[in-house]
């Protein structure tokens, strides 16, 4: 029907159905699926994401495209390349009627389809508040802050309950690129230095977090889900995403149009900023405000890894930390040790953890406190 049929650049046989944004290669559906999986495998191997056989690893699962593709790919790769790890789906129930209850049904089906255990952790049980109730109280503006802080801890707590210390999230290349741009626009130097890391561990989380899809384009994830006919759920959160992020997102889409490799190129740039760029002497950090929390977090994670018994479980974090140690000794002015939250006993750099501060403000009749959203968007 179409006059100008392209042949697949890899197998040279089938009709090309996909243009790869990374390099403009025109390939067929089968070669695409193969190359997509191979790249995730390469990412896993080169970054040593699964260092220990026999380990149980959680996949943060929302029922959306990214986490569904992550689970499907990992199941296939684990069988093909024998990583020797066991995956568990870990879902958060934020308590958003008409959004999360539907998507959780998808996750439950996924658990059956991929033969993985499923654990659901509810905000309700953890904090005594569902997001529906939070929005009722604080309104729609700023509710994403609550959700973000709650979720970060919820994933950790869910994993802890399962006796798991490694969580995989579905962040894709577009997410990382967007976060790099956003952190520049926000002037957030400490986070800029970490957002492109494939593996992170921070002061306030005992967990290792990895992003095996970090080099996968959003477009390719959607294509993969489509060609593999994966069962995923897609609705915008009813409480709408952050406006600022939308801005960086549309910028990214515009860039992708003129040079499709841009997304990956930004990730690459971000990685160059990760390594050892921040010299604390140059950091305007030291005030007790929240903004610098991540900066202290780096130092703190060093403290954590030094006394932690499971430091060998944290290769990425230890690397990062060992550098900070060097800087720290030359600087010497700031030290921060990790403690536990006085309210909930959870790890925290402050006397009371962010989640508890937020819960307190909700439980009181006072207007809500301002807390800076920590970390990347944890939409897993």
């Amino acid at each position: 029907m179409t006059g100008n049929m392209h042949r697949c650049a890899i197998c040279q046989t089938n009709r090309a159905q996909v243009i790869r944004p990374k390099n403009g290669q025109k390939i067929c559906k089968n070669c695409f699926l193969e190359v997509f999986e191979l790249e995730v495998h390469t990412t896993i191997v080169e970054n040593n994401i699964f260092p220990n056989r026999g380990e149980r690893v959680a996949i943060g699962a929302s029922g959306g495209k990214d986490s569904t593709v992550l689970a499907a790919t990992l199941k296939a790769l684990n069988e093909r390349y024998d990583y020797g790890v066991e995956f568990v789906l870990l879902s958060i129930d934020e308590g958003i009627h008409g959004y999360r209850d539907d998507s959780l049904e998808t996750v439950k089906r996924n658990a059956g389809q991929y033969g993985m255990d499923l654990c659901i952790v509810g905000y309700d049980a953890l904090y005594g508040w569902t997001m529906d109730k939070v929005v009722e109280k604080v309104g729609r503006k700023g509710n994403c802050t609550y959700c973000g802080v709650f979720r970060r801890q919820a994933l950790d707590r869910g994993a802890k309950r399962l006796n798991i210390s490694h969580i995989l999230t579905g962040h894709n290349a577009d997410d990382i690129a967007e976060t790099v741009l956003m952190n520049l626009l926000r002037g957030d130097l400490p986070r800029l230095g970490r957002c492109a890391e494939i593996m992170t561990a921070s002061l306030t989380s005992p967990m290792r977090r990895s992003k095996p899809l970090k080099y996968a384009y959003e477009k390719e994830i959607v294509l993969y889900a489509h060609y593999r006919e994966l069962d995923y759920f897609s609705t915008e959160c009813v409480y709408s995403p952050e406006a600022f992020r939308g801005n960086a997102r549309s910028l990214l889409k515009e860039l992708e149009k003129i040079r499709p490799s841009s997304v990956l190129d930004i990730v690459r740039s971000g990685e160059q900023l990760v390594h050892d760029m921040i010299s604390p002497g140059k950091l305007d950090c030291g005030g007790p405000n929240d903004q610098c929390e991540e900066g202290r977090g780096l130092v703190g994670s060093q403290t954590l890894s030094n006394k932690s018994t499971n430091s060998e479980l944290l290769p990425g974090a230890v690397l990062e930390a060992s550098h900070e140690v060097a800087h720290q000794t030359t600087d010497g002015s700031r030290t921060q040790t990790i403690g536990v939250c006085g309210k909930c006993g959870y790890m925290s750099s402050q006397p009371t953890c962010k989640a508890c501060v937020l819960v307190d403000s909700l439980n009181k009749t006072e207007p809500p406190v301002e807390v800076l959203l920590s970390g990347d968007r944890d939409f897993y």
Partner: protein, 442 residues
């Protein structure tokens, strides 16, 4: 109720009157609101000049200095360039007035790219060609106004001859259509056109307008640096505003040059040579510079008309032919939030790579952009860690991660390219084959 005058209203009255005067001198009516402060044009001018003067510390008149420093001012003939010219002129005149001599001389260089950008630049609207000033007209006007400065125009293709030539600067000028010599001279037209053919061949081998403009930007910078070297200029002045620099940071990040960010935007020494880079307008926004141009009636001295500079939307470029640099400039135009550009520039300026020196020594400079080479992040990381590796052989696997993860395969027969060309330059020259690159890193 609304119309009742209360005591509070009365108390406000004299204050309100005061608010109608400039916040700083409290004498003149304000004409511009700047960072929440209403200023008159005189105080605004002082503000601009103060910001500028902070960068002129090394060029203050010194009692015992014997030689006059040579400064190169790079001008695009755009609004910021002209304001910088005007400000430098004021600064130097003040030195002469107060000390009867100046610490420096200014050598103004314009790089003429029209021979190659004529067909690929679509930001200028061809329909009002008859009303726009040409570069030559503009240079003539500037020459008449700023008689203390020396003006020279170099065609971009000069880069093919300047770096290999051992000739003196006078020879070089004579091969250009520079203003300082007889413009009718055509004796050197053949050598110029050979260079031009080389340049055009290079640009036409690139796969997009985005890549072409990227390399033109690099060539322009490198030509300016070569000129500074030959002319013994100790500093190169660029008129980049904060807005422009923010766009530049995001554009270079988008092109995959995150590793070179500190070198791209920091003032001071460069890896290429003795001349320092100075950007005295790095704290000023584009709109502040535009206001200054209006207050000081500098519009006739810029190649950009006031209408073009102040209209929010540039003439539409076919979406797919836009460049990364243009998209970023437009982004900062559209958001018109000065905080964002401040954030970007300040954050990028704080970046510091602890292993930079070491990296230059180990890896050298990129043959295209001349900035330090990058390294696969995983390789960098491994080098810095005492790794207990149980023979996984990760190092071997890592070597071609660029190809396997970033899909940046080296071209056929050019496997060593990765060692000579940084990631961003490999992207911009992707598919170009063997290219004839005019400059080298000495």
């Amino acid at each position: 109720m609304e119309f009742e005058i209360t005591m509070a209203d009365i108390a406000k009255l004299p204050k309100t009157a005061a608010q109608n005067l400039c916040k700083r001198c409290k004498l003149n009516p304000p004409e511009i609101t700047m960072r929440h402060e209403a200023l008159c044009r005189d105080c605004f001018q002082i503000y601009i000049r103060t910001k500028f003067t902070r960068h002129m510390e090394p060029y203050r008149v010194k009692k015992h200095s014997k030689t006059t420093k040579k400064l190169l001012l790079a001008t695009s003939l755009g609004v910021s360039s002209t304001v910088l010219l005007d400000t430098l002129h004021w600064h130097r005149a003040l030195q002469v007035e107060r000390a009867r001599r100046s610490e420096y001389d200014v050598y103004v260089v314009h790089i003429d790219e029209t021979a190659v950008t004529g067909d690929i630049t679509s930001t200028t609207n061809p329909s009002n060609n008859n009303t726009t000033t040409t570069a030559d007209q503009c240079l003539e006007k500037l020459k008449e106004k700023y008689t203390q400065f020396e003006f020279v125009k170099f065609p971009l293709e000069e880069i093919y001859t300047i770096s290999e030539s051992t000739s003196t600067i006078e020879d070089i000028i004579s091969t250009t259509s520079g203003l300082s010599i007889d413009q009718t001279s055509t004796s050197t037209s053949t050598s110029t056109s050979t260079s031009l053919i080389k340049l055009r061949t290079l640009l036409s081998s690139l796969n997009s307008r985005a890549s072409q403009i990227d390399l033109i930007n690099i060539l322009r910078t490198r030509l300016i640096i070569e000129i500074a070297k030959q002319r013994d200029c100790e500093a190169i002045f660029f008129a980049d505003s904060m807005t422009k620099m923010a766009a530049m940071v995001l554009a270079e990040v988008t092109k995959g040059r995150g590793h070179a960010l500190p070198w791209l935007i920091s003032d001071g020494p460069t890896p290429y040579g003795p001349a320092k880079i100075v950007r005295p307008f790095r704290e000023l926004s584009k709109s502040e510079i535009i206001s200054y141009t209006t207050f000081t009636s500098l519009w006739p001295y810029s190649i950009i008309s006031k209408e073009t500079a102040t209209s929010p939307q540039r003439p539409p470029v076919k979406a797919k032919n836009q460049t990364i640099d243009e998209i970023m400039l437009k982004f900062f135009d559209d958001v018109s939030n000065a905080h964002l550009s401040t954030n970007v520039v300040k954050t990028a300026a704080k970046l510091e790579f602890a292993d930079d020196r070491d990296r230059i020594e180990r890896l050298g400079l990129c043959e295209i952009c001349g900035l330090p080479m990058d390294e696969d992040p995983r390789v960098r990381k491994l080098k810095n860690v005492v790794r207990v590796d149980n023979g996984g052989g990760a190092g071997g696997n890592l070597s071609d991660a660029d190809a396997r993860i970033y899909c940046l395969e080296p071209p056929e027969g050019e496997e060593g390219l990765k060692e000579r060309r940084c990631y961003g330059c490999r992207r911009s020259t992707l598919g170009a084959g063997k290219i004839n690159w005019p400059v080298n890193n000495r």
